[in-house]
Amino acid sequence: MTREELIAIGSHKVRRDETLMAFYLKEFEKLFGRKPNCAACTFVSDWRRFEQVKESASSKNILKMEKTFQLNNNAKNIIHTYRVDKRPIRTYGYKMTEEFAKAYLEHGTPEQIEARKQWFRKLPKEAVEVAEVDETIITVNGEEVFLSDATGKQMTAYAKENGIDFGEAKKVDDKREVIRKTL
């Protein structure tokens, strides 16, 4: 099994399967040089780090391969510069990356940014908005759990531990909302 296949299985199933957990811990150690001190206690945050290592590598590749902008021909052989904290960041037009193009049109005075837009035949697209992921974590019986992944049983236990009354909420999603409002 590969790391990608493990991630595709999902944290929920991995957490509940001894064999998958053992593989996960081995891969975790390969990535970060150590196993978690208490795998169950920090599984949620560790799993997120474990996934993010994969996400950032693939997103970098995507940035490299896909350019959503086009420069005018007269912009390709000149040096484009923007400054961050008074430190110049430069590139030749023909080497401009998507990342640079977006930063180029973000850092500067409004007048500078408007002037820079003249170099573009097609402006870079705004970064695709990633659907907001609910990363709220609750602790149930000493174990960290994403609220969005918590089972009904886990939420009931959490509510009991924290004195939360679900009231008329019977469905799992409704209970989830009740807990979220208390956080």
Binding site: T81, Y82, K86, R87, P88, I89, R90, T91, G108, Q112
Partner: protein, 199 residues
């Protein structure tokens, strides 16, 4: 036997038996007033590291609004180049005097101002070798002119001028390799004269 402190050791060899050699600098220099340097970071090999890797780099940023100045010569010539001399001080320390040769032309007011600036100022000079490497000369103590004869008539309109380290204050390092704040953008920084202007 006494323990001898070693300041450096060899990490890797060099195979040049069958390699075509590059031997020329681009015929231009970017001269920077040493006083215009805002920040400078030198990165050298960490020999205390159990697995050291070669590092001999410098990164710098000019003060806000400052720029270097480009001097150019005919690309077919060889007026522009850099070199250094290694000596051992009386105290036993290795030291290096850097030299950059450049072409200055003319007898007008502008060329006089340039020559006087070189004579009385202190400069860091960037040269780019034909393989793309950008070298920085005079990073530590700056360069200025030594004794020279400027004879426009005898030398066909200009003279070769050498900016070099002061013999009393040589450099501690060989000419360092410039590394941009954005790795891979060394040529851009060189072509843009390392300017830190407000655009």
């Amino acid at each position: 036997m006494a323990v001898i402190p070693l300041c450096a050791r060899l990490l890797v060899g060099q195979e040049s038996a069958c390699v075509p050699l590059k031997r020329k600098y681009f015929q231009q220099a970017v001269v920077i007033n040493k006083a215009d340097i805002e920040t400078m970071t030198v990165t050298r090999t960490d020999f205390d590291n159990p697995t050291p890797t070669c590092n001999y780099k410098v990164n710098f940023t000019l003060k806000d609004g400052k720029t270097g100045f480009r001097f150019t010569g005919p690309e077919n010539g060889n007026s522009y180049f850099g070199r250094f001399n290694k000596t051992t001080s009386d105290l036993g320390f290795a030291s290096y005097t850097h030299e950059v040769q450049m072409l200055i032309v003319g007898a007008d007011e502008a060329s006089k101002c340039i020559l006087e600036s070189f004579d009385k100022g202190s400069y860091i000079v960037a040269l780019q070798f034909s393989d793309g490497t950008v070298e920085i000369y005079g990073q530590e103590n700056g360069l200025s002119t030594g004794d020279y004869t400027y004879s426009v008539a005898e030398n066909g309109g200009g003279s070769l001028v050498i900016l070099n380290s002061n013999e009393q204050t040589p450099e501690s390092y060989l000419p360092l390799i410039y590394e941009s704040a954005v790795p891979g953008s060394e040529t851009e920084d060189f072509d843009a004269l390392f300017a830190n202007t407000g655009s």
